[in-house]
Amino acid sequence: MTDLVHTGGCQCGAVRFRVEGVLGDASVCHCRMCQKAAGNFYLPLVSVRGARLTWARGEPKRFQSSNAVFRGFCGDCGTPLTYEAPDGVALAIAAFDKPQGIVPQIQWGTEAKLPYVDHIPDLPGEDTMADQDAASFLATLVSYQHPDHDTAEWPPKGRE
């Protein structure tokens, strides 16, 4: 949490961000707008209001979800990236290269919290490689995802 430079971006790497300074409140929001924007059960966000946010590569595309808020995402791969309100910007925590260090402290929008969401951590879980059907598939899989660090050039030469 004490890192003063944080980097991250979308899955395909067309949009990369850099945050210098101290990150603000980290939360998950269960409201139905965050759910639908994320296609997910909730959206984990961290405020960068008190830090300096720069777009190191590309820039997000934005959807105005209400008169108050724009939501940024990668136009090439769709990764949800920002929640932009008049009083500041928040970034999607899992889009950071090191999301492990950004620990949410509060849950918002609990009126729309899905009834099963608190039980998720108790569900049986497996590592990716433990699935016999997936193992052969994964052995030959070539990921086109941007790595979890900045790159001088992307995508690598030879890949369209």
């Binding site: 296609g39 997910n40 951590p121 569900l123 990716t128 899989l141 990921s143």
Partner: protein, 164 residues
Amino acid sequence: MSISRIYTGGCQCGAVRYRAEGTLGDPHLCHCRMCQKAAGNYFMPLANAPRASFRITRGEPSWFHSSQFARRGFCAACGTPLFYDMPGADFINIVLGSLDDPYDVRPLTQSGMESCVPWFSHLPGLPGKETDAASDAGAERHLAILETNRQHPDYDTEHWPPEE
């Protein structure tokens, strides 16, 4: 005997809508780093629908090939992640939070646990607040958002966006 039913869903802005008939199989969360990054989230919630009973009912998703085997569908106008698809398979995976009624499909397992964020099991224990409980200013803004919400409603519509 099983009961066939209809599932509908789509993106936040409503440019892409889909419909699946039958049963959604293997509802689960995947924590792998590829699903995390595609979702901008801690996991991707997925279940599969038979391809024969699935169709896009409005617009077309955009696709990003995240590997040579799989492509991920999203709305090019608002970004909502919608599908995880292996084109050779006879099913397509739907991103569950994009369903009109996500209450309906309860996940049963988790995969990709090697990338699960270390404090994942602590999330349910965090203090929680309703959206408008933040502050006077927050409540006012929440009201303004409700009044100007541009999100597609959680059901199919004949025309969208509504005529101004």
